[in-house]
Amino acid sequence: MAAAAERDPVPAIEAEAGRRFSAGFRCSLPVLALLAIGFAAPLLTVVGFSFVEPRSFSLWSEPSLANYRTIVEQTYYRSFLWSLFFAAVTVVLLAVICYPVAYGLARIFGRWSNLVTLLFVLPLFIPEIGRIYGWVLFFIKGGVLLGGVKALTGIELTSILFTPPMIIFGMVYVYLPFMLFPMTLGLSMVPREVTEAAFDLGASRWQVFREVELPLAMPGIVIGALLTFVLGVGAIVEAKVLGGQSVIPITHDIEIAFTYAQNWPLGAALSVLLMLVVGVLVLAVLKRFDLDRILGRR
């Protein structure tokens, strides 16, 4: 603590009245309070609800393990596997799709990269729903794609809308920026001199990629992958709108339990399992990174 006080560069302000808590701690309080009542407490409520009698609407009903028993006995594991599968495929596809763009943003585009970044940021702010629906209009029978093909060639194709691959397509589309920006951040952390030196020592393009760029950019890539995976596991609109409910992911099961089935405790138990999967993954990955280095490179 003494070292911290020494490094704090505002002695005149800090010394004032010899406060008991550091300035950093005091500044963090509003956010911490919000997280306590808006994040921690709701999650605890969910955990509490998962342990009461099925179909009850109060936290103070009979405690019970029936919800977890139902989940094990029925086929909910399928929904879990679908969700994890979709999210994993999305992450892999996005890594491949985004790498060249991130490389361009970090290395090649120079003064154009601000404009390109803006173009990639903008869709983030258009309601996700609207964009997904745009794809329905694009792919639907008589829509932009099939109608266009028919007008040009006279061939009538069947629409690929409402099939499982469309769900992955939608997820890749929606979560692209969440992979792209952390990846760009990661790639711009690779010092140019290091790649230059590798080339000068006779490394091929492939070797530089495999042995220099990829390992050094890894923090950014892993953060991007984690973010897209978590968002992908939580995705709900893509499967409902683009997938036409051909596959039921776990988020959809949860929503059904809360709405049509009116079985909050069951939905809560499913949410708890999903939270466990996501939580373990996120904590394991975040623990390993120095956030100051990733965010504060400028």
Binding site: S28, G134, V144
Partner: protein, 267 residues
Amino acid sequence: MGAQRGRWVTPLIAAWTAAICLFLYMPVVAAALASLSQSRYFTFPVVRWSTTWWGKTFASIQIRELIETSFTIALAVTAISVALAFFGALAFARYRWRGRSLYQRLVLLPIFFPQSVLGLALLLWFNALGLPLSWQTAVFAHLVWIVPVATLVIAIQVYSFDPALEEAAADLGASRWQVLKEVTLPVLWPGIFSGALFSFLLSWGNFPLSLFTTGADSTVPEYLYAKMIAGYTPGVPVLGTLSTLGAAVLLLGGYGLITVIRRARGA
């Protein structure tokens, strides 16, 4: 030598980036086309163009109410989240303190969390507290997710902030409040502005949190979703396109403003 090596790489990457960009905007274009077509059900190529549906949308009282609700929520979220995130960002990046590393990870948790599950959790929590759902509860729900994002956005600016400036001002006799008003705020201003822009737009477009927490009040994304599941009218693409245009104007206008002010300051 460097140029020789990458001769074929640069155009290839530029072409790929352009293709991805096109891909990002394709559904926006499709929605715009649908909104300008006269027929009740969208067919392509468009047979008859018209702005009928735009007129009908503007005239609708229900849609005006939706936009008002969304706008009110987004404004409230922006004001509160910027205030909280400003101090949150100082704690994140400016000060060295015990527990900072733990705090940084805590702030990230809501971002790395499925939003639909967070929405449900908040629904159960409001229910347990006996709070009736309305646009106010939705504001709170949005804050849980948006404050951490705004904190990160502002923190990136704070990292590049030189604390010696504050020290100098204090040495010259400025009070704590003067230091904040005359030094810290002006220097961090671009980051705060970005944080506000992000807060507004993310709240405006949010669906998973609103779905579970608005109660009887409805936002634009919720309406779009309901209409998509049942009861399509060309009013849906009109409203979607309208949202898009609004976001574009706000974002481009905002960053245009920042650029102009930076140039003026630099000159």
